[in-house]
Symmetry: none
Subunit: 227 residues, 4 copies
DNA sequence: CATGAATGAGGTTTCATTCAT
DNA sequence: GATGAATGAAACCTCATTCAT
């Protein structure tokens, strides 16, 4: 696995040094995202309930009380973590489809790879793991995530599938279940990275995505189109 | 307390047969499995840390102290829950492959459907969600699960894929990543059921699995085999 | 001052010994009032906010967690303290007036002395100090106290005054303000006991009440009745 | 922090002139008294411990740090609040008696009404409530208040009573307890205003004081003096 | 002078664990 | 075996106090 899921202690030390000398005002602005970044790492690693605010504060290099200058409660902090992970995800997703001119297959490939590069493989990927683990304890967060991320992501895939079916690139399929089947390996890739990274199961993301796309595109193509 | 707080690796090795001979405690009646059943439900719903022993006891209809007659600690209970969910899963999986005579495609289909019917759709499916959510906090449990369930499950799929490739039913593929891509939608089906069940995203398991298999088998088939 | 306002450490030691050996069941029943008694002492001494639950628990001879077996929160405990102090006060007050046959003056004297003996000089007197100090922070408690204790107590005095005015024992007076003027020295007696007891201001309750009644009864009597 | 946490008795001795020369801090403008005024309001309303410096600062329209430019600690601020409420009270009281030429009854009436008009009904009245509520937590403040306000106030009343007894206006009485009985309704008037103001118990101060004086003066007069 | 971000000791509250009954 | 009252460590959270700006 080529990405470090959790920050090393060296990272932490660097972060502390880098921000130590900044003027007060810049700190004030930068603080919230420093805190949510630290919180995200720990929430993903340990889960919401098992993460102590002390640890978040320590990782962010501040005192426990400082957290409460920016977030009213642990739960508020949690929601800020999710919100901060969702907004860029949405923006990134929207950019993918706008005025795409190529084939449906190429669009599909672009969506899968783009998602992985801009979301899945980044720190934001942890949000997915977090939502999955904590959705039952935070139904409103899950609902928001569902409405704004899942629905939107499915919409992008639906467009690509419809386009391919309409122009004969793809077979006629049950589009809705197709969407879920396409998304699943992407989400599982994240989960594997965050859940079983430490036991021997080394998944190679690139080969994995390649295979996923290969199987998918061959599975979608009408028999007569294949050589 | 006569037991160390954290389980030793020996404890883990015992996971598989833990429910048969609970250490220092007899189990003649059904009590222990009533307790683990209640615990499983709540662990899946709230996560390990957020689940209180009071609630488990209440759901099982016993007093809190009774839990300690059967399990030395909350962590021991957790491991028993996992163990009890894993053993039948393994047994079920093993039965699938033994002396299977049909085509590789039919075997593959049988494995997918059989897993869903005997594991995924049952209460044991929750164990998957649980492992995913808690693996970082219980590396030994995750390792055990990996070694005994994941490795074993992948092994079954590997056999099926190899057989299909060898006999020309399937294209030549990167078998290892193929395995993960095949498993992913199954696991995600569980996660959807346990994480987003309450927001509008109603996944139809049968259609979903059909589509998964349809895409998969068409994607695996060599072009010339398709009509 | 002849009454100890706060328990001495000897009292505490005795209490602990006395209850140490009681069977579990008896403890369970007796616990709440042991806890409220300890809480009352400390709330009166330090005020609600400045009293730590640690101290209450220590004084009651239990652990901090035990408080939460009986009261949901510090505020709930506070309200229980008040409630427990109010109920007997009401009962005591009601008994005073029932079918009283003597003169209005004797009734008045009986009310004043009775209140002092059964309420003011007992541990329940602290509740008055507590209500006065904390009413702004607990408006609902204050309202309840007003409606059930103050209104009721004023009602008793109103009856006595009306009777005396009707039968010529007393002058015609503005009964309502008279009531408040009569009550005031009683309440202040408590406040003095709980607020300035430690500086040199030794008020002699008996002499004080005698003087209060003396001034009052002479002030109420019509001129021609005095010799 | 260069000051010990608890005030020394020397600090207390300075209470009276504390507002003239705040240690280490100059006071040219009205700022400090704006701060103590805000603090008084909140201390009276919520009590010392339950009042946050944030709230005091907000009410005074300054930042929290500004409080520490004028007062070394919350406790110092508290004592300044008391001191500022006591000094004018003493001055006002002293003026009452000087070279009074009228009857003892008129003097008594003047003392009661004067106190109400200049102390009880003003913002300084809150100090009385405050002392009553907090005296146990600030014994030195209470002692100072006792020595300089209570003793002095009782002294004024003692003079008036003695004069009346000596010249035959009043009966022979136990002067000391008489003093306390006379003061009590005044203090209770304040307490009612600050403690039960919000539940329906509307006390009319003028009628209340009239009745108090009426009862008192008739109670004090010898029988033969009444018509 | 004035600010307000930052601190950390100390408070309330929770809950896994124990043990007398 | 079973109970549930009791415990106390540890969590979340508050707020008096400091200090760089």
């Amino acid at each position: 696995m080529e990405h470090a899921v959790s920050c090393t202690s060296a990272d932490i030390a660097d972060l502390a040094n880098a921000t130590e000398r900044l003027p007060r005002r810049r700190r004030k602005d930068a603080r919230p995202s420093e805190l949510t970044a630290a919180a995200l790492d720990l929430f993903v690693e340990k889960g919401f309930a098992a993460t102590r605010l002390d640890d978040i504060a320590a990782r962010a290099g501040v005192s426990k009380g400082t957290l409460y200058l920016y977030f009213d409660s642990k739960e508020t902090l949690f929601k800020a973590v999710i919100a901060e992970g969702i907004v860029p995800a949405l923006a990134a997703a929207e950019q993918q489809l706008a005025d795409y001119q190529g084939s449906a297959a190429a669009l599909l490939r672009s969506l899968l790879l783009g998602w992985w590069q801009q979301i899945g493989s980044t720190r934001m990927g942890g949000v997915v793991k977090l939502i999955i683990s904590e959705s039952r304890n935070f139904p409103d967060v899950a609902q928001y995530y569902h409405d704004h991320v899942i629905v939107r992501g499915r919409s992008l895939l639906r467009s690509a599938l419809r386009r391919g079916i309409d122009n004969g690139e793809f077979r006629k399929m049950d589009v809705e279940s197709c969407i879920d089947v396409i998304i699943a390996p992407l989400l599982m890739l994240i989960i594997w990275r965050y859940s079983f990274c430490f036991c021997g199961n080394d998944i190679q993301p690139d080969a994995y995505i390649d295979t996923h796309f290969d199987l998918l595109i061959n599975g979608l193509m009408p028999p007569e189109a294949r050589t």
